[in-house]
Symmetry: C2
Subunit: 359 residues, 2 copies
């Protein structure tokens, strides 16, 4: 994570290997009647987020999904089906179930269409939280394809010049393969920060930087609120009109259109918490130019970016995906850190479902 | 234009109707041996930018293209051809000629592929300046399609934490049709501001806001430099790491990949001034959901965004494309304003080519 002050401190943490977390998450979901394949897919997406250091989208979210599965907000088991289809596009139903399952099926279909016609785009209606958007985009990499994922959410971000929330943090994730260098993986909310970073700052009792959020009059706030309300709003990327806040706002609406409006699910302002619509695309590089040449140029570009002289006080220029790839290498060795309090909550969840906890 | 201090003041301006500008630009280009159809296409794209208030991408650019056509940097007449093609993708050569021509042919082909297979993507190698990116995306609207355009350019923007330029301002333009409301048209550089706004501020002798650019150590500057150099750099959208500058930087690289690396033309750091690579996409909405329902939801969303309570001191929340559409309505009546000095320069150009000036 880029913001050190939001990191879990090592002396408050316990570490678990990825395999253990994968088994744990799969067991929890299977105890909730999720079919084994769907549970494995979901667990893999969640643990992958933890491995990459995107802990806000990791297995801690089982605490949020579980009550929504138990109260019937999610349909379990879910049925994935293609509603409408053309040679290079599809509208897919997620069956109102776990978002990861729809996301993976959608990207698989997009990749298949890219094999057949050069590119494929799939949009999901009745979707749910997909966690780390990069997970789906990165599925394209092993096929030497470019992968893109957009997903929208219920409102927490204001339009620029507005004083109320109308948009989700609506992230986009873009993955492109390289040769000897690591792939380029951009995964970003179109707000100044992902919403869960503000939640995390609240939970850790630390202030947020000015520019991340405003009160109901549009004035900056630095005390992180816990819950969404009309009393405050996140800023779109850019924050103010002079600094390009209309661009972050515009990107958020673009993503609302490509996901919620295109699928028919809905846009930020009329969505309920927990609804998410998703659009994925795969593009077969080999239909455009030889893959080896593409990868060689990616390598050259990445090397050039890394070698940019840094600004005063900075160590090195990074490329999107660097911090997450570094974290993954580290955590494959050390395991994934969880705050004691998080472990306690996850184990309480496990006990309530009569499955093995994290030991 | 959003920034009033960059506007031409009415008492320093002369106004010309769009038809007059269209004829003028076509004549200039034909005098440079550009075939009539290519001249008309280019003139239409340029005048369309002027009508929408995007004067930095309007006919004033003829002053820049002309010497590059005369010295052979541009190949005139140019040959447009498809180099490689799949059912839903294509790689196209712009024949090293006017960027507008390649852009229009590419979007026409993307639209045709979208008719045939649901979506189409075309990427242009050996491209040139395409001006206002929204022009190409908006071509999709009359076909009830969504249009997207990315274009890259030579370096003027720094990677976040970097102290040298490595990226172009790499804009993206996204257009989606609505019903009774105006279409949603987002056209944005992935830098804090478009480069030509800084050039314009220099020419008008006004300072730029802190956050738009930095010196060679990464410190903010407010005196707008005239020429690109290693002494300064534009900021990516977000400006600083804490405010999400890695996102604007990431978007710029994403666009470099989809345009320059995918086409094989090149990426920001290794491109010469005047080179630009472009990717366009068209998506046929009717293959996903009924167009009328899509447009109805677009209307609802736009109305909802417009009705957001504004922040203290603001008048109204706008939607991307509003200022440009308003300007177009106005300028269809008043004509397009040009500073006296601009008229003089354009008329000198006309005289040098022995064509009629702007009277």
């Amino acid at each position: 994570m880029i913001f050190d002050f939001l990191n879990i401190q090592p002396d408050n943490a316990r570490y678990f290997p990825a395999e253990r977390l994968q088994l744990f998450a799969t067991s929890i979901l299977q105890a909730l009647n999720v079919p084994e394949e769907h549970a494995r897919i979901s667990a893999d997406a969640l643990v992958s987020a933890n491995l990459r250091g995107v802990d806000t989208h990791g297995i801690i979210n089982l605490l949020e999904y579980t009550p929504m599965i138990l109260d019937g907000s999610y349909t379990i088991p879910q049925e994935i089906r293609v509603i409408r289809e053309s040679e290079s596009t599809a509208l897919m139903s997620n069956g109102n179930g776990l978002g990861f399952v729809g996301g993976v099926y959608a990207m698989r279909l997009a990749i298949q269409k890219a094999w057949e016609t050069g590119s494929g785009q799939v949009v999901i209606c009745d979707g749910r939280h997909i966690g780390m958007a990069a997970y789906f985009s990165m599925m394209a990499l092993e096929h030497d394809m470019i992968g893109i994922t957009y997903t929208n959410g219920s409102r927490s971000v204001r339009p620029i010049l507005g004083a109320r929330t109308r948009l989700g943090t609506n992230p986009l994730a873009f993955a492109a393969p390289a040769g000897k260098q690591r792939p380029f993986v951009l995964d970003m909310a179109t707000s100044t920060v992902a919403g869960r970073k503000i939640e995390l700052a609240h939970n850790l009792g630390v202030p947020i930087p000015e520019g991340w959020a405003v009160d109901y009059k549009g004035h900056p706030i630095t005390k992180p609120p816990l819950k969404r309300s009309d009393a405050w709003a996140q800023n779109p990327l850019g924050n103010t009109l002079v600094q390009g806040g209309h661009k972050g706002y515009g990107l958020a609406v673009m993503i609302d259109i490509m996901t919620g409006v295109l699928s028919g699910g809905g846009y930020g302002a009329n969505m309920s918490f927990g609804q998410n619509y998703t659009w994925v695309m795969a593009l077969d590089i080999s239909r455009i130019r030889p893959v080896d040449e593409f990868k060689q140029m990616m390598d050259d570009m990445i090397i050039e970016l890394h070698s940019t002289p840094p600004e005063e006080g900075a160590e090195q220029v990074l490329v999107a995906g660097d911090p997450e790839a570094d974290t993954q290498v580290l955590r494959m060795k050390t395991g994934v850190p969880f705050h004691y309090d998080q472990v306690k909550k996850l184990n309480e969840l496990a006990a309530s479902l009569k499955v093995d906890g994290l030991h």
